[in-house]
């Protein structure tokens, strides 16, 4: 089977302006939402405490929220996590209470709200490992809720992570630009990085618009996408260079059109395969991997778009010409000069 049966080059570059306007609008929207709504950063960045509690019955969020509110932590988030039995409680950093004591305190309060008391339970798992954990039990001997996970991050750690994240992003951008500049030419390197940063901003824009939680995992996904979708641009640039060498009669937009057309099949199939894997994570990976997979999905979809329609178009606007890539000697010429073409 063969999905793509294209007999003539598709004139992508004829519509370059439209694509660029579309890109610019989405980009502007993403920036707008980032500025107005901001990212909903996870406690890894902001510092704070998270508790994940599993109720035996369907969790009553209102009751849980009321119980936690009484502790006076200020802005507390209580929400379902994964299933209706699991509840995630997120608490901000407070100066007047020691962070390390927050999680036991909140668990104790939630347990009391269900009419139970917290005690340390030690037992041996069926595999034969000793486990001891704080457990909540009512006088009737029922365990109404279980503590699945707690996490507490000090504010200093959070600041550091944010700055490390920014550094990592800068490193990736500069590294890729340098590599492409050496491998191809600066115009390509600028085009590729603009196209792919545009992906990154759009991913962030989605996270800002929907107020999805932006965690370290999402940051890792964003950076992985950045490295990955640059691939796409590299493949197309490779073909453009080859086209300049092979088809001496075609002008720049035609060469670009040919490069994109001849790689479109590979582009869609590769991204499709990667997307299958990501989809599998989205479906089976559970709540922990959810936003990681979401970020990858958006990144992959926009990655196809941007490397096909944006990167090449920017390279064209920047005035990529045969002489930049094919070291054929001869005098320098302006490709936009209508009188210059005849000499080639």
């Amino acid at each position: 089977m063969e999905f793509f049966r294209i007999s003539r080059d598709i004139p992508f570059m004829r519509h370059a302006l439209i694509f660029n306007i579309f890109s610019f609008v989405t980009f502007a929207l993403a920036v707008f939402f980032l500025l107005t709504r901001g990212l909903h950063l996870s406690i890894e960045f902001t510092g704070g405490t998270v508790l994940e509690v599993e109720y035996t019955q369907t969790a009553n969020l209102e009751k849980t929220r009321a119980a936690v509110d009484k502790l006076g932590f200020g802005e507390v988030q209580v929400q379902n996590f994964g299933s209706s039995h699991d509840v995630l409680v997120r608490l901000p950093v407070r100066a007047n209470i020691k962070q390390a004591d927050v999680a036991p305190l909140v668990f104790g309060t939630l347990c009391a709200a269900e009419g139970g008391t917290v005690a340390i339970k030690a037992y041996t798992s069926p595999q034969g490992e000793q486990v001891s954990r704080p457990s909540c039990s009512t006088p009737a001997g029922v365990e109404p809720l279980k503590l699945s996970r707690t996490e507490f991050v000090g504010p200093a750690v959070g600041d550091e992570l944010a700055s490390d994240g920014a550094k990592a992003l800068a490193f990736v951008v500069l590294g890729i630009m340098a590599y492409l500049a050496i491998r191809f030419e600066w115009k390509f390197s600028v085009a590729a990085i603009i196209a792919n940063l545009h992906d990154v901003i759009i991913i962030l824009g989605f996270f800002a618009f929907f107020q999805w939680e932006f965690s370290l995992a999402v940051l890792a996904a964003v950076l992985a996408v950045l490295g990955y979708s640059v691939n796409e641009s590299v493949v197309i640039f490779d073909r453009i260079r080859e086209g300049f060498r092979k088809f001496r009669k075609l002008d720049t937009p035609q060469v670009i059109d040919h490069a994109i057309t001849s790689t479109i099949s590979r582009t869609v199939i590769t991204h499709g395969s990667t997307q299958m894997m990501v989809l599998s994570m989205l479906l089976f990976g559970g709540p922990t991997l959810h936003y990681f997979a979401v970020a990858l999905t958006i990144g992959i979809l926009f990655g196809i778009y941007s490397s096909v329609f944006v990167a090449a178009a920017i390279a064209m606007w920047l005035g990529v010409k045969r002489e930049d890539l094919v070291k054929a000697g001869g005098k320098e010429q302006d490709p936009n000069d209508p009188n210059a073409g005849a000499v080639v």
Partner: protein, 657 residues
């Protein structure tokens, strides 16, 4: 042209073999075990405990798979949880005659079920991270400023003693942050002091400044020395934490330095953070006392009399009792350092060198002068119980705060003693800045979810590749499988910790790795479309695709390295797997899949077609002499595709094996 020399096949076979071998231990799962570790700081578990435990188990009628000493504890693997409990009881009874004061900690544990010959090859399973196994994670920040302040404090004390001994008159010594300031009335005295200090304290930088009518000498640690103090502080804190954590009887505690001033503590299986924090935060105290050698005390030692009033009986590390006075001469606060080394007077003899601060040195000099030829005892108190670390005889008056303990000591014993003396306290206070607990059920759930993601994703890719590229798709899938195998094998070899982000990275890496094979297959198809002969198409297809594959992998690697360099903990796990995966994918998708193709097609001289799915050719392009069999998949192509020529099925020379 599509043949590999034999050595290339050998490399491939070897890679496959190593991949299988090192992946294997991960498949065996875990078996119940009993772990015995030291319950007291003064007791060291070593290989000599193994026969004792073997004997105990044999006496109880239990047959362990093996009993072995590893990393400070003895582990015995058993067949079932029933036997495990029995074994635990038997060992606890034999090793701890007094259950109220256990010398050994006997804990239930899990050990890999992989057979002995694999372990002998160092083929060990990956270590499961806390998010997959359940447990508690602490990130602790060491207060380095406090370590430096403490050092400055002790320097100020030393200085006071030194200047008094040398009769250099000053008008005051004070600590100002990390600096030590000495005031002098006359510049000549200052110069004299400066000369002396430059000689005696080579670690410090001294600067003289006039201060009103007086002169000031300010000293600060040289950057190298300050770093050494900080390194020493964090090392000592880690040692102390190790000693304390051992007591929890945790299977495989992880205590590692992270960055310059942080320590990660991970305790699998523990959910009780309160107890863990209590144990980690506890302080042991060190005391120096004099031994009571009176007649009554000697009688008490023989067991024929009561312990004299004002004295107490303690046990030495070898088990012999000693009577010491209750009066405390010095505490651990006065001890600034303890290092193993060699005795100055008798070459080759092991010794422990103690450094006392100025106050301690003064007291120590007075006490030793009055008690020559008597014994003193250094005791370590933990959980309210004391134990004698060492009880040397005082040979002469010791001044200057530098004490040497030597005699009847091996180098290993000297090292242990020094460690114990230092273990008394933390070199600098620590604060928990990050804490994470993961319940055991959540961990199991995470494993299942992670594996499901990789499994289904892999299956989907495999089905698609085989359907779209036929035999070449099968080769690609096999290459992808080898990639997974090599990745797991490498992670096992590195003894990396597998976490949920790590599994996600495996999934993502596989999803991205297939890119290389798609590139190759598309190139081969394109060459066929251009009219190349099958053999030539394979060759040029692989060759041309390689440059692109290299480029794209390098850009991905740049992103991976950035994550590795700037990420911590969570992200780093992701980055390690991602970077390794890129490397293995280069090998498997290019070299291994080419090997398979060569093996299958390389020998056929008059190869007419290859099974790479349908190769569609635009109408009017030159058809080559390939068989024109109807492609079963042709009908699946999107109907009415704009570019599809009307007579496509008939005019489409498809290649099929």
């Amino acid at each position: 042209m599509n043949r590999y020399p034999w050595w290339k096949y050998t490399i491939l076979a070897l890679a496959l073999l190593i991949g299988l071998l090192y992946t294997l231990p991960n498949l065996y799962g875990e078996a119940p075990a009993v772990q015995v570790s030291s319950g007291k700081a003064t007791l060291k578990v070593d290989a000599s405990l193994v026969p004792r435990i073997e004997k105990t188990l044999a006496a109880a009628g239990l047959q362990p798979d093996f009993v072995q000493f590893e990393a400070g504890s003895v582990k015995a693997r058993l067949r079932s949880t029933d036997e495990q409990i029995k074994a635990k009881d038997a060992i606890a009874k034999a090793l701890n005659p007094d259950p109220a004061d256990p010398s050994y900690i006997v804990a239930l544990n899990l050990l890999s079920r992989s057979p002995h010959w694999l372990t002998a090859l160092h083929a060990l399973p990956m270590y499961l991270g806390l998010d997959l196994r359940g447990g508690v994670h602490f990130l602790m920040q060491v207060d380095m400023k406090a370590a430096l302040t403490k050092k400055a404090e002790s320097t100020a004390g030393d200085l006071r003693t030194l200047l008094r001994d040398k009769n250099i008159r000053h008008t005051g010594i004070a600590r100002d942050g990390d600096l030590v300031v000495v005031r002098f009335r006359e510049q000549a005295v200052l110069a004299q002091a400066q000369k002396l200090l430059a000689e005696v304290m080579p670690d410090m930088d001294w600067t003289a400044t006039p201060d009103g009518a007086e002169f000031r000498l300010t000293g600060g640690l040289k950057p190298v020395a300050a770093r050494a103090v900080q390194d020493g502080a964090i090392k000592q804190n880690i040692t102390t934490l190790h000693n304390r954590v051992n007591e929890l009887g945790v299977a495989e505690p992880v205590i590692q330095q992270q960055g310059s001033d942080r320590v990660v503590v991970q305790l699998p299986g523990v959910q009780d953070t309160a107890k863990a924090k209590d144990i980690i935060g506890r302080t042991a105290t060190l005391e120096v006392r004099l031994a009571n050698t009176s007649a009554e005390a000697m009688e008490a030692l023989r067991g024929s009399g009561p312990v004299p009033f004002g004295s107490e009986k303690y046990l030495e590390r070898d088990g012999s009792p000693i009577i010491v006075f209750r009066q405390v001469i010095l505490t651990g606060e006065n001890l600034t350092d303890a290092q193993p080394g060699f005795a100055g007077d008798t070459p080759g003899e092991a010794a422990v060198h103690l450094t006392l601060d100025a106050k301690g040195a003064r007291i120590f000099r007075d006490v030793t002068r009055e008690n020559i030829n008597k014994r003193m005892a250094i005791l370590l108190f933990e959980k309210g119980k004391g134990e004698v670390v060492t009880a040397p005889v005082i040979r002469s008056e010791i001044g200057g705060g530098r004490v040497q303990i030597s005699g009847r000591m091996s180098t290993a014993e000297a090292a242990d003693t020094a460690l114990l003396l230092r273990a008394g306290s933390l070199a600098a206070p620590m604060e928990i800045i990050e804490e994470r607990t993961i319940g055991p059920t959540l961990g199991a759930d995470n494993i299942a979810k992670g594996f499901a993601s990789v499994g289904y994703g892999f299956a989907a890719i495999a089905v698609f590749m085989c359907g779209y590229y036929l035999l070449f798709g099968v080769f690609s899938t096999l290459a992808l499988a080898l990639n997974l195998l090599l990745l797991i094998a490498m992670l096992s070899m590195l003894q990396a910790t597998l976490t949920l982000p790590g599994i996600a990275a495996i999934a993502l890496t596989l999803g991205m790795a297939i890119d290389s094979n798609v590139l190759i297959n598309e190139r081969v198809r394109e060459e066929l479309r251009g009219g190349a002969s099958p053999q030539a198409a394979i060759n040029t297809g692989y060759e041309r695709a390689f440059a692109t594959i290299l480029d794209s992998n390098i850009t991905t690697l740049i992103a991976g390295l950035a994550l590795l360099a700037f990420g911590s903990g969570f992200v780093r796990g992701f980055a390690v797997v991602h970077c390794l995966g890129i490397m293995t994918s280069m090998f498997s998708s290019v070299m291994f899949s080419r090997g398979l193709v060569n093996l299958w097609y390389g020998g056929q001289k008059r190869l007419k077609s290859v099974s790479i799915g349908q190769v569609w050719r635009p109408a009017g392009s030159p058809a080559v002499g390939l068989d024109l069999s109807a492609d079963l998949a042709a009908g699946l192509a999107p109907d009415g595709a704009a570019a599809r020529p009307p007579q496509a099925p008939a005019a489409t020379p498809s290649t099929k094996r």
